[in-house]
Structure formats: C-alpha cells, structure tokens
Amino acid sequence: MRLIARRALLAAPLLAVPMLARAQAAPLVLATIAMIGEPAQRLAGTAARVETLLGEGVDPHLYRPTRADIARLLRADLVLYHGLGLEGRLRDAIGRVAASGRPVLAVGEAVPRDSLIVEDGTPDPHVWMDPTLWGIAADSIAARLSALRPAEAPAIQGNLAAFRAELAALGSWARAAMATIPRERRVLVTAHDAFAYFGRRYELAVEGIQGISTDSEAGVQRIRDLVDLLVARRIPAVFAETSVSDRNIRALIEGAAARGHRVVLGGSLFSDAMGAPGTYEGTYIGMIDHNVTTIVRALGGEVAPRGFQGRLAA
C-alpha cells in the first residue's frame, strides 16, 4: 500500500507536464492589416505569435481572400480585424471564424462611437490615422490578449503602457510639426479619402480623389474640382499612396500645370498599408512618423528630415 502511494506521489508531477506544455505554446493571433498586427505583436511580446494576413502594399478595400487565407483565419486562436467596412471582401470569412466560436475583435469598432467620422451614414474606416484614437484601440487589443493569456497579463499591460507613452510622445511631436505648416497651405490632397481622422487631429483640410474606398472610380468632375482647389489656394504639393495607383494624382498635377500652377508630388504616404516588415516604416510609429515628416516638408513646414526619432530612411 505504501509502495503504491509513493509511486503515485512520484508520478503526480509528470501529469502536470502536458498542462505546462500547453500553457507554454504561444497562441497564434492573426491580424488582417499590419496597422493592427505590428502594435499587437508589441503588446503581446512573447505571450503570443502575431501574424498579419495582408502584406506590405496590399489594398484592404479590394483584397479577396484565398483558400489558404481562410484556413489561416480558422486556425488562429484570436483574429484581430479592423471592421467598419475596411476589409470589404473579408466579411464572409471573418463571419465564419466568429460563428465557429473563436475569439474575434473588430479593433476599429472598439473606439468610442462618437469619435468616428461618419459621412452619409457610412463610417470612415481609416481610424488608425489618428494616434490618439489608435491608443484607445490598443487598449482593447491588450485586453483581448490578456484574456487569451491571463498568466501574461501583467507583461502585456506593461507593453501597453510603454506603447501608449511612445504614442503620446509621437502625438505631441506630430502636433508641433504640423503646426509649422503655414495657414494657407494646410490642405492635404491624396489619392483616396484615407486621411480624414489625420486631418481632424492635426487641423488639416483633407481631400481625396477617390472616395473612402478605392473600389470607386475617380470622376473627371472630382479631378477638375481638385485642380481648381490647388490653383486657387496655390497648394504646392499633392501626395501619392503606397497601396494605390498614382495615375489619378499624376493627372491632377498635369491639370494644375495646364493652368500654370506647378504642383509637385510631395511623396508617397502610407495609407492603407505600412512599409516593409522589419523596417522602421513597417511599424505603426514609423508609419505615422513617415507620413507627418513627408507632409510637413512638402507643404512648407519645418521638421527634422529623419523624423520623430531620427529613424526614418534617408
């Protein structure tokens, strides 16, 4: 009897090993866009593996999922997507994931409703353009990660605090930089309406050639109206976007030139996609940094050429 009891006692710790092993395997978190995925990985640290479905330069308005994508979505332990209609063609796939009972979070819908910009009843989905709002979104991501790995919650909260601090520094730096743009030049013309939240935060009028979604075709009338604006306000620069064709922007520049007003291409902004993973511009901070620096320089403001932390590509 005592022999059996002793063997049982020795064996007990062995039973705990599989449980420990399951706890050690990091869960897989799948984010749709990198503006969610990169911060999410920062917040998770070692607590989870975060992968991003849409790569650098891919347009989330138009992206159609493949079978492999759907399989990845269904395998993930947590799916983070933006919502508010951004990933227009992923709705069905994400619906399937939610229906299967796996945790799903619409990050863009986690910000307060009254801070959303709504046009004709349709919310503008480009929430990440406002670092302040995106900080609130980060809170909800951290909360979900903590729910996934309760043991790691303190570490996650620590990462969140650091991220929020950096966001705050970025925000005040951006505010100061944008304020140096002369009053009459405070107009941001881009390929599509992705910068409304950005413009609201930094007091810039924003105009896009295409609408909120790149799915809509640009109209000749719209280009004409924008040419009128460029000429009337003598705006020196317009901006392309990395995930959208610059054809319409070039037409705009031609149109202004035909009226004797020289407009330059101020640069290529990150709107619906970030830079290459592994680079500074492939991080959320880097993306906003690049956009602010490019815009301020092109519109005649003052800002350090290497940006917020001197880390922008030269």
């Binding site: 891919v58 064709s245 054809r247 037409a251 149109g255």
Partner: protein
Amino acid sequence: MWEALTFQAGHNAAVVAAGCIAFGLAAGAVGCFVLLRGRALIADAAAHATLPGVAGAFLLGLALGLDPRALPWLLAGGGLTASLAVLAANALARGGRVKDDAAIAVALSVSFGLGAVLLSVVQALPVGGQAGLSGLLLGRAAGMAEADAWTMAAVALVALAVLGALLRPLSALLFDPLQASLAGLPVKALDVALLGLMLLVVLAGLPAVGLVLVVALLIVPAAAARLLTARLPAMAALSAGFGAGSAHLGVAISAAAPGAPTGAVIVLVAVAVFALALLASPRRGLVAALRRRAALLAAARAAAR
C-alpha cells in the same frame, strides 16, 4: 455638362474626352469590318484574354527588375495572350470536333480564368495595389494623362490609314471570301491585318473603357450604322462617327454625374444610339416595319371585300 461637351470643363476633362473620342473613332471604324467579317465573338474573347497577359507582364516585369507598371509593357503582354487565345480558338474550331462558338467560349473562359488567378496573385504582392490592374477591367478613363490621349490619337490614325488603304480588298473579302481568293487577293494576310487592327483597338481601349466593355464599342456603333445605310464606306464612316460621338457624349455625362464610371456610360450612350437606329431606320427600323405591315394588312382586307 454643356461645358464638358464644348471642351471647356478644364484640362483633365478635355484630355479624357480627346482620348476617348479618338478611341471611339478607331473602335467604330475597325468594328464595322470586324462585324461584317463575323468576328464579333472572337473580339470579345480576345479582350477577355488580355487579362492573363497584363497580370503576367506585371509579374514578369517585377521579376526582371523592370518598371512593372509601365502601360506599354502591360499592354504588350495583353496583346500576346489575346493573340494566343484567338489562335487557340481557331485551331480548336478547325479540328472540326468543336463548333466555332464553343471553341471561342472555351478560349475566353480559360484565358479569363487564368487572368483572374494571376490578378489575385498580383493583388497580394507588396506593389500590387500600385499597379491599378483592376482598373483595366472596367476602365479608368478619369485619370487619363496627356500621353495616353496622344497614344489613342496615334492608334486612331493608324487604324484609319490601314482601313483606308485596304478598303477595296477588305470589301471584296468581307462580301465573298472565295471570290476574293480567286481574284488573287491574299485572304489570309488580309484577315491577319484585320485581326491586328482589332487587337490594337482592344489594347488601346483597356485603360479607357476596360476589357469587359471594349468589345461593345467595337460592335454596337457598327450595328447601329448597319441599320442606317446600305453601302460599306458610308457604314464605316457612320460607325466611326457613332463611336466618337458616344465617347464624347459619354464623357460629358459622366463628368456631370460623378458617380458613374466613364467607360460604362460611353457604352450606354452607344447602345442608346443603336436603339434609336433600330426604331427609326427607314429601311430596317421597327417603326417602318410596323407601318409597312399595317399598310399590308389594310390592303389585304380591302382586297378581300
């Protein structure tokens, strides 16, 4: 809209209008001959078959380190696959086991399916969004650059020059190919020339109205012209005019109604012209036919009394 019609709606609108009008002119003129030669369906297959070539050219350009977005490069790829599809359809039909229209349908489906797959590959690439390739499906006329408009004008000039030079041989070929070959005309070479013109127009039309709709501008103005005249030179001129006019009016309407895609509006105008011709044609129109029938009925009844 009146401003747009009179080219006073700004530089961009004028460029778009000029480019589309040149394209409509070329498409109408070439389309007249394509229609009479019975190649309308092949034209549609060729247009759809540009997609794998365009997407493939993009991927190849990326791999080779060229600028993959350059339009001439993309259109060259499109032209290559379109030609292959036409050859494939011909080969299938000539074997005798597959009927003409089935062969064309097969070539169209295979090409377009392959193109859709390649397009999704492109869209998942880092620079895929910049390519704007999906704009070639339904057209992206609004952002037309001056250079594009000049290219359209050149295409129109080439098309008109070739058609003008080959007018008589083509007429003979279209009416009676057997007799044409007996007369010593190089029938195969003429057919190749016509096919080449058709491909040129299809490729020129991709940025303007897109590959799905370009065949409409080849065929619909020609069909409308056919209803209104019984002589080939007049039909070609009328068809070119309808094509150019539909483009002019279509661009003006889409400038005034900002939500409407330019290519689609142009096609709708062309269809409206066709509908008018169908109703109003003195010889072949519906109204005239109804009148003749009514007169016939009245005469028959009068005779019976």
